[in-house]
Symmetry: C2
Subunit: 207 residues, 2 copies
């Protein structure tokens, strides 16, 4: 007798995706600390019971939100890089810098990411996501730097890896202050300072 395929295997993945999106919205609005099942349910237009049906452990849902935010952020940076003219390493590096800093204190994409990163200190899963994000951002920068060095546009002051590390860390530092409403770190100024640093380590004046 065959284990027959019966019943109602609907669009679990679609529902889950909707819940992840709704949870991201709820976190953006009320913060990670004040996150309530009700908010997620409301944002998704379903009942509280449904949320629990798909995610008996809320932490799993939050982890999915983090994963989604990381992937979408990386995709948007990759896109920014790809859309800049391939023949101009400086333009591509600039595109990376622009895509890596929050545009304002209320930038919701960056805001959500920083919120979720907070959990990394206490949750290995979140730490892993943050580690992966960092490594892939470093990879993006390292590629951009190496291409520039290969074409002669850049003269690297150290290994592409190390410089890429520094750029990502610098970005993260400024980004943290921007989303934290540090009045002394205006987005435009942060952008200038990161670019100045990039200029210094690549020896490329046109940055």
């Amino acid at each position: 007798m065959v284990m027959s395929r019966v019943g109602r295997p609907r669009n679990q993945t679609a529902r889950r995706q909707a819940l992840v999106s709704a949870a991201g919205q709820a976190i953006t609005e009320r913060g990670l600390e004040g996150l309530r099942i009700k908010d997620i349910a409301d944002a998704a237009g379903v009942s509280q019971g449904s949320v629990l049906y798909y995610y008996p452990e809320l932490d799993d849902l939050v982890l999915e939100v983090h994963r989604g935010a990381v992937e979408s952020f990386l995709a948007s940076r990759q896109r920014a890089y790809d859309e800049a003219p391939a023949g101009e390493p400086a333009a591509r590096l600039r595109a990376l810098v622009d895509s890596g800093l929050p545009g304002s204190a209320e930038d919701s994409e960056h805001g959500l990411l920083y919120q979720l990163h907070r959990r990394a200190g206490r949750s290995p899963g979140h730490a892993e996501l943050m580690t992966s994000l960092f490594a892939r951002e470093v990879g993006l920068y390292a590629t951009a730097l190496e291409v520039g060095a290969a074409t002669g546009a850049f003269t690297l002051a150290a290994s592409a890896q190390d410089l890429a590390h520094g750029l990502v860390a610098l970005e993260d530092g400024y980004g943290l202050h921007i989303v934290s409403h540090n009045a002394a770190v205006r987005p435009e100024r942060a952008r200038e300072l990161v670019l100045a640093h990039a200029r210094a380590v690549t020896g490329c004046p046109s940055l």
Copy 2:
């Protein structure tokens, strides 16, 4: 008739100080999200009622914890700077870098600070503290850089202010990853990279 000075004006400030210290401990142990009045009371060795007696608004207490953490952190950096040999700008700068990075993922002083900084996005009071901390750290670095430039030990690649900004942001970026358990950012490596950056912008090989 004189408004007579009667009653029991005891050591309110001492009690408050004790509560602030206890709250800092509780936050370190359980995180800002999981902070319970009971934890604070236990850490301070008093009843829950006493905590509310002094801080009807828990937020006020948390803000005091933040203020205390900022002041003590700045004092320790100032001390590190002062204790390094006054005649050696490179040594003083190195001392600043060392005091600005968490020694490990479990560094409780840095961990507490990053925890508290999280509130800055939603609370003006916390944002102000973070802004003040940043400005004063920039001041420390700027002084160190200017002294070095004045004595000829450093050749600054840009204004001391801008370079100091960059150093603090870099530190914060690495610090964030360290306390977040990003496995790719080891404290020792972060220290090396910050020093390399300092070396690059000061032109001082002995850093």
